[in-house]
């Protein structure tokens, strides 16, 4: 061990072998179960087990190294990188337009969100504005994908705790959202619909009735999900008082999204730093009180209802006009112009072979993804590719709080806690 350089300070790094006996075990269940578990004598030696990387409840390829004292977790070290895809490096060798399909595949539960974050950062560098219709459609697509993402979270979270039927319920509505996305973009999941400078195209006529149909049914469906879980005694027993994190710790870890709001901090990027015209819409930011798994569950379920409200307002007030910026540096000329104007043809050709060149500089643009604050720090050196693009992934920060949340919990409860922070490994590893 003396060969390690720089030497690790004591008490950090991966726990190896026996860990010295500690005085007492913190009570993490304020309910009945903690009292029983408190009486168990701490073991002399801890057992290390791997949870993952191939495990059905780690929501991807996450490896958790658990140090167990019987059934109790005394330490948890997440090991990430099993889905490292090299997105940030790949951005540097692709033009800005080519980066958009790459962003789709980072947080693959809500692909349009990543498009939106990247496009906002690039647009901020370029200094261009999107017409109101484009912004409204962006908001509708983003909120629909937030609902779709929360539905996967709810389905898998409930399935991890044994409520298999919720999964089936959730997927039905998610497929309806994917149908809408497919109708407007041609693809179910990886739409690349939101582009730098606007959208892939204007939405077809059928978009509005499809969305209205969905909005009419969906609140009733949320009632159904809540009927299955919210007051279900098994669900409450397995989630209340579990995985508690206080507001100060959650902030210190850099948590965001429902993981932070569950602890009572009303931080929502849509409210704190509105983008794409979110300031026009009335919506509430649900917050929890106890910061446990149940409160995070309630926050996300309420968020689905709030997203419905936002989509409803956006589709009611959907303005006419163009969806794309009129800036010809970024947005290609209309098709009919290419037939008649030589300059337009050249512009179109140059745009798709060379791309556009934002002025040198750096900017940060953040959005509220289903998992929290998704930020893009983009640096331009004046070329047609990002000089550097750092992604501030919400799942990564939320995952860092996991060690504190699961300390003292049972192994079976670790599954509930991992589900409650709603991580996507594509977002963690990138």
């Amino acid at each position: 061990m003396s060969a390690i350089w720089p030497p690790e300070p004591p008490g950090t790094g991966m726990p190896t072998g026996a860990v010295p006996k500690q005085e007492g075990i913190p009570v993490i269940h304020p309910g009945g179960r903690g009292e029983f578990l408190e009486k168990i004598e701490p073991a002399e030696e801890l057992m290390e087990i791997n949870m993952g990387p191939q495990h059905p409840s780690t929501h991807g390829v996450l490896r958790l190294v658990l140090s167990l004292d019987g059934e109790r977790i005394r330490a948890c070290v997440p090991d990430i990188g099993y889905l490292h895809t090299g997105f940030e490096k790949s951005f540097e060798s692709h033009t800005y337009q080519q980066c958009i399909p790459l962003t789709d595949r980072m947080d693959y539960l809500a692909p349009p969100m990543n498009n939106l974050g990247f496009a906002l950062a690039a647009e901020r560098l370029l200094g261009i504005e999107i017409p109101p219709r484009g912004q409204h459609i962006r908001v509708i697509v983003a909120e629909l994908s937030r609902i779709a993402s929360h539905l996967i979270w709810l389905g898998t979270h409930a399935m991890d705790l044994g409520a298999t039927s919720v999964f089936m319920y959730c997927w039905q509505e998610r497929d309806r959202i994917l149908d809408i996305l497919e109708w407007i973009s041609g693809v179910r999941m990886m739409t690349s619909f939101i582009r730098v400078g606007g959208l892939m195209a204007d939405v077809p006529q059928e978009f509005e009735p499809m969305v209205r149909d969905f909005l009419r049914d969906f609140p009733l469906k949320v009632d159904e999900y809540e009927g299955l879980l919210t007051s279900n005694p098994i669900w409450r027993e397995r989630t209340i008082g579990l995985g508690v994190i206080d507001a100060a710790s959650a902030l210190a870890y850099g948590c965001s999204g429902a993981t932070l709001r569950g602890s009572g901090v009303p931080y929502d990027v849509r409210r704190a730093a509105p983008y794409s015209g979110y300031e026009q819409f009335a919506f509430d930011v649900p917050v929890g009180v106890n910061g446990d798994v149940y409160d995070r569950y309630l926050c996300r379920v309420r968020e689905m209802r709030e997203s419905c409200r936002i989509v409803e307002q956006a589709i009611d007030g959907l303005p006419g006009g163009p969806v794309n910026s009129s800036d010809r540096r970024v947005v290609p000329p209309p098709r009919d112009e290419i037939d008649t104007s030589m300059e337009s043809l050249i512009l179109h050709f140059k745009l798709y072979t060379e791309g556009f060149r934002p002025p040198p500089g750096a900017c940060y643009a953040a959005i509220e993804s289903p998992r929290g604050e998704l930020g893009f720090l983009m640096v331009s050196d004046g070329g047609n590719r990002p000089y550097r693009c750092k992604v501030r992934a919400p799942s990564f920060s939320n995952l860092s709080a996991l060690s504190q949340m699961v300390e003292g919990a049972l192994v079976a409860d670790a599954v509930a806690i991992v589900g409650s922070i709603d991580i996507v490994l594509g977002d963690v590893d990138r």
């Binding site: 990387p53 191939q54 991807g60 099993y82 889905l83 490292h84 895809t85 090299g86």
Partner: protein, 212 residues
């Protein structure tokens, strides 16, 4: 295995007696629906004259003649148990395929097993990173024979849009692949098609030398 007595029910409705009448139509033995003995099947090669008629007469009486290899292949392809090996985006569509709308259960392949010891087909759904490749191989090695691999999506098949330092350019560099599915990600119908194609492959290659 009870091949002589109960084998007449293979492929048919196990609750119905062999040769039962379906509905009010003409009397059709249920055994006719079996993929092992279709009406108009080619004559048994090298059989003595009248063997085909004898086999059909036996089928009407509820006795099915087949080879053991075909029965075993039928058993294999009728209940494929996939290993739950979701890696990235494609895993979401794989979960979608097992849900009510697409219902992978119609093809007998909905029992996703978390343990490789209990599964016989590995659906590699997503991009395989350099760090994940040894894990993938280990899980494949832990699966009991016979086993098959479906490479789902562009990333698993050839690296997809990620031609960089982090991603294995095709999972067939690590494990042998039986069926490739194109798409990024493939639709759930794509996965259903792959399962059907794999079933056809298994049916076309019945095991030999079972008593050797």
């Amino acid at each position: 295995m009870g091949l002589t007595g109960a084998a007449g029910q293979i492929g048919g409705d196990p609750r119905a007696a062999p040769g039962a009448v379906v509905g009010a139509g003409p009397s059709v033995p249920l055994v006719r629906r079996s993929p092992l003995l279709r009406a108009g099947a080619p004559a048994i090669p090298g059989a003595y004259p009248g063997a085909q008629e004898a086999a059909e007469a036996a089928a009407r009486a509820g006795i099915l003649t087949t080879s053991l290899g075909k029965v075993v292949a039928w058993g294999r392809y009728s209940s494929l148990w996939p290993s739950l090996f979701g890696l990235a985006c494609c895993a979401i569509e794989m979960m979608g395929a097992s849900n009510a709308r697409f219902d992978l259960a119609r093809f007998g392949a909905e029992v996703f097993r978390s343990s490789p010891r209990q599964s016989d087909v590995m659906i590699v759904a997503g991009r395989v990173s350099q760090k994940m490749a040894p894990v993938l191989r280990q899980i494949y090695d832990q699966m009991p024979e016979p086993k098959w691999v479906i490479s789902m999506g562009a990333c698993a098949s050839c690296g997809g849009i990620f031609n960089n330092y982090a991603i294995i350019q095709g999972v067939d560099k690590v494990v042998p692949v039986d069926v490739y599915i194109p798409g990024c990600p493939p639709r759930p119908e794509g996965l259903l098609d792959a399962v059907i194609k794999l079933q056809q492959q298994i049916a076309a290659n019945p095991p030999t030398g079972l008593f050797a």
